[in-house]
Symmetry: C2
Subunit: 291 residues, 2 copies
């Protein structure tokens, strides 16, 4: 029975993305177009400390897409993880700082109560949304040859020490998490199939979260665990709502690698294709590592 | 005599980066840490319409680095080109929204007078600066084998239709601008040596500008000219001030390619190495194209 989905129950991802509008206050005079929400971290997406970064990024993008003045679909999204979120409530502000004929630029901040009850910024983001028009199109980053999702065993959940790992069905094709932390250096490449667990139709917010699913490249590269934290992540969307709808609950193939590890920070570049081989997003991040 | 540099004359890049502080006004009460400057577009970096995007990004990063509260060096910088800048004055605001022990998160906006004299946002940026510490380091993106800068002819300036192209000594090794706009498709790869003209010691701002030197990938890919404009650009820095100083006035090798062209937007990923083969930065952007 555990595999039967109760359609009247919200998916944990949708529970996590629920935002409650805050009525505009007197202080917001002169910035009428900013909208505020309260949201909460969700236990199903908990990380070691605070929430999985992908869910925070998705919540911030949700604040943009839920804004009544939002035009078009996301083209670009940059999330900056300014501080570890505390479990509990946060406040989101989404502001369209520039609206052009077919593009719109956004600033998003997430705040939480800090010492003395003062709101402090824990996260910022910028986004660009756009009304796309059909043009000549071509995807030059082609999906690597890998076995089909059904032919790849899922990463066992027995070793999952944090809740959010249970929210993704991950099937590594190459570059799985090291099983021996022996310091033997390798390349930084990982390829894996991934989808929400339970399955959920893909949308821009869940695609954004999946851009952050890869485990830290420095762990792969060095087979050494060192404390890490994503500092900034950018997602470029190469698909519209129709293409995401066509992907539905199918798997995405993710491929990630690093280009540089230098004095405390490394980068990660990744691609996400659907099972049909359509490149849906490319994504980049820079990550702090301790030693 | 034209090659003799007059050391008492400012380099055009430094002229362009001059920012004049604006004293804090009553409206800024409660946001004491924001600082404001006025700057100007510079004719030496003019593009077809408004300035070269790289110089605008550099000016915004300059506003961060000039802030008296700035700690550390840039690790990550994302520039969003919200509207075409008009030639003339702009107003810059740089605000440290979060200062941690070793990292700092920034919001930057550039504004210009719009219709009716109202300030409107033309550009936003986020930046992360950090006090780096020595750690295990490795650059996995290795410089491709190309001829030395001296062995590669410079792109003639005779065809330079915009001023900013004269500010860079560019020496294409592969994927030069098409000479025939005949619609014959090619790959999107370009490799070129580049440096400031006149030469100038590399710093974080000039490295940021050079991340935007590549001509539009869609022109290379299709051998068709279509109107384009960078919407968002991210730079990850993989070097500190010492490594940039060691690079000095030497050439950088830039390599750029696209991964997707989809309904009006394409991406570009690029790497920048110095002549010694050190990877100084990786950079990504998403670019509007018309058809």
């Amino acid at each position: 029975m555990s595999k039967v989905r109760n359609v009247t129950t919200l998916h944990p991802f949708d529970e996590a993305l629920a935002l409650t509008p805050v009525p505009a206050s007197a202080q917001e005079h002169g910035r009428e177009s900013a909208r505020h929400w309260t949201g909460r971290t969700h236990p199903a997406y908990a990380n070691m400390v605070g929430p999985f970064g992908g869910i925070t990024a998705a919540q911030a993008l949700r604040a943009v897409l839920a804004h009544p003045q939002c035009i078009g679909e996301p083209v670009s999204f940059t999330a900056n993880f300014a501080a570890a979120l505390q479990d509990g409530e946060f406040r989101a502000e989404a502001r369209p700082v520039r609206t052009n004929r077919s593009t719109q630029h956004w600033l998003v901040t997430l705040s939480q109560s800090g010492p003395g009850g003062v709101d402090s910024v824990v996260f910022t983001a910028t986004a660009v949304t756009a009304l796309r028009r059909p043009t000549w199109s071509a995807a030059d980053a082609t999906m690597p040859a890998v076995p089909a999702p059904d032919a790849v065993p899922r990463t066992p959940l027995a070793g999952a020490r944090v809740a959010w790992l249970r929210r993704y069905d991950m099937r590594p094709c190459a570059g799985a998490m090291p099983t021996e932390w022996n310091g033997v250096e390798a390349d930084s490449l990982s390829q894996l199939w991934m989808r929400d667990d339970p399955p959920r139709p893909l949308d821009f917010c869940s695609l954004t979260a999946m851009a952050d699913v890869f485990y830290p490249r420095v762990w792969r590269r060095r087979a050494l665990m060192t404390p890490v934290g994503t500092v900034s992540m950018t997602v470029y969307f190469h698909a519209g709502a129709d293409e995401l709808a066509a992907t539905g609950e199918g798997f995405l193939l993710g491929q990630a690698r690093a280009q540089s590890f230098f004095n405390g920070f490394f980068d990660q570049s990744a691609e996400l294709w659907n099972e049909a081989g359509d490149l849906l997003a490319t994504t980049h991040q820079i990550v702090y590592f301790k030693e």
